[in-house]
Symmetry: C4
Subunit: 208 residues, 4 copies
């Protein structure tokens, strides 16, 4: 809790460049945040329009619970309301949003509102999951360019799926979170592995 804004901004920039290198946040896509202070709530978050391969600490601002910039300069991500909703409803310490090839494909591969992954050992990499018999149901939210208007819908979905470790936005990507940046980053890695398995499995003839 004694982390300074500068230190946290540096860690966020590092996570962002890592996501770029893995192909999860190409161009200016993706946005990342971490809680700097819980009371009053202060969130460090990436600014809009920055190339994630070049992300620096100076591309991060601190905002309050209403999304107003309180430290640093720049326009916070257009998806700031999503980050704040997740922090509030999940008590998350970090929220990461990525756009990978497989999450994009899977977000469009099902007609209904969720993607279910079950029976795979790698599920145990998700926080609190202790068995491969786990059934992870990730909600799929329709995409929009007005996240302020969509915030109540997102909050409702988070309430309806209290056990989900993330959600997908259709044709857009993944939101996941953790108690800190390391946990959130590990969870992307796990979910991306699972998405790749699910996506590739659909491309192969099933039985020998």
């Amino acid at each position: 809790m004694t982390t300074t804004f500068e230190t946290l901004a540096g860690h966020l920039a590092e996570v962002g460049r890592h996501c770029y290198e893995r192909g999860w946040a190409l161009g200016t896509s993706g946005n990342f945040s971490a809680v700097l202070r819980k009371d009053p709530l202060t969130l460090a978050i990436t600014t809009s329009g920055v190339d994630k391969g070049l992300l620096e600490a100076s591309d991060i601002v601190a905002i309050d619970a209403q999304g107003r910039v309180v430290q640093g300069s720049g326009t916070p991500s257009a998806e700031t309301t999503l980050h704040l909703a997740i922090v509030r409803s999940r008590g998350a310490g970090a929220v990461l949003h990525t756009h990978s090839v497989w999450s994009t494909i899977l977000s469009e591969a099902t007609g209904d509102g969720s993607l279910t992954i079950e029976g795979l050992e790698m599920l145990k990499g998700l926080t609190g999951v202790g068995t491969h018999a786990h059934r992870e149901k990730l909600p799929i939210v329709e995409n929009t360019q007005d996240w302020i208007a969509a915030a109540p819908r997102i909050e409702a979905i988070l309430r309806e799926h209290p056990e989900a470790h993330g959600f997908l936005i259709r044709g857009h990507g993944l939101y996941t979170w953790g108690k800190d940046l390391a946990e959130a980053k590990r969870q992307i890695e796990i979910l991306e592995f699972l998405f790749e398995v699910m996506g590739r499995k659909r491309g192969i003839a099933w039985q020998q």
Copy 2:
């Protein structure tokens, strides 16, 4: 506008090696240009037959609006007329041409003269696109070994598709451009992501 030929040639060589490393310009494939001066038009462009993994500033020449070498030594790319046509018709500051696996596949995957990509958030990485609801229609041009003869056809296609951010040559690859090298390079990254999504989607069983 005060960039020297040497500096610009160095940047072009760097972009070319980057494209090689990403698998977008293997062997001697691909060619790259950037505007050195607008009046009279002077274009820095890669010479023919150079291995893109070894591209150096000395492999770049400056040419005039008729494609004659005015600085450096070597034969400008055989596709020089395409670069000049794009600079003229789009006011581009940089033109990049790459040969990736997915652009090659998609250029042959449709019988008609274009590839349409729509509904994906990553489209917002294209210059001037503000919503995932954007519909990008990339013309597909038949391949040839005589680009001087084909120049009027290319110019007609560019006029007919004033909103296209690039075009594909069948069995060959992608042309895209931007106001400068950084923008053109980001646009390749975005389009290659979209091509990979489109190509992989076709390989999977669609509905759960």
Copy 3:
């Protein structure tokens, strides 16, 4: 046989980070062991819950034949009984367990209890195999979260398949081994190549 625990722990940590980099042990998945002494049997093995990308020698403990920690601190992997069973039944000097995308997919792609690979030159990379005409039959074991209870089943499978160079756990990954760490690591590389060939082959239309 004069290797110290510290040296061996360092080598195991290096192999683990290598597996992480190749995408075979993302997050906290995977576990790795090597025999420190044969008599009395002492095994160096990764502890539970460590991120494999950050694996250090201090994340390794030495255990005895009953799985009790005799050197270092931490909880040995929950799959310790599997490592001990393989060392006992195969005389292995190193046991590596990885979770790759292709091994996960193939472990679920067949309804019966094994995966057969034959006719490929790369099979010669497996210890003792001298011809592409080799037929490798890898048993597939059902997954569980209680490996102590499952140990007799695993030992029976190892006895029934005396020529297998590894086995798969369904929805989980690969176990393989070798006389030392270098041999076991090479065997993962060979098997992962073969898995990728088998998996991709199923995704393509077979005859021209």
Copy 4:
């Protein structure tokens, strides 16, 4: 022609490690040679059983036209007769043999004795090819573990396909060559790109 054995062995080792890094020569797979002297014919070639990721100049020997070691120590590759046959019949200065995932798959994807690639711009990366309209027909040879007995068959195939830039061995991999190591290495890169396009194309639904 004044290259020393030591220099050439160093270049061969470098090419081998590069092929390993690209996934074209995992484990001990692959073998590589280059002509040291034409008269009498002396060939530098990798020795048998060496991990290609660790290939050093000391893992290379020089052999005469009968395959006898004349410099360095070690057993020349079991496929030495193939290298000598290619050098003789094609006048090659370097011969490279790789085992990639896509070449393995394509070598088994057709029932007849060849793989045809046509209409792709990347074909122009092959030595002497000046148009995408080129039709490359790569013979596919059945695999064997006795290449001395198979040498006449290989020589006959090379005579029957005088324009082929390489050949595939079924379930095994690619042989290609060039006037020197740089040309042969570029040709692998081009052919591997073409194999990936051909392999992935078969996995997707063709028409939009």
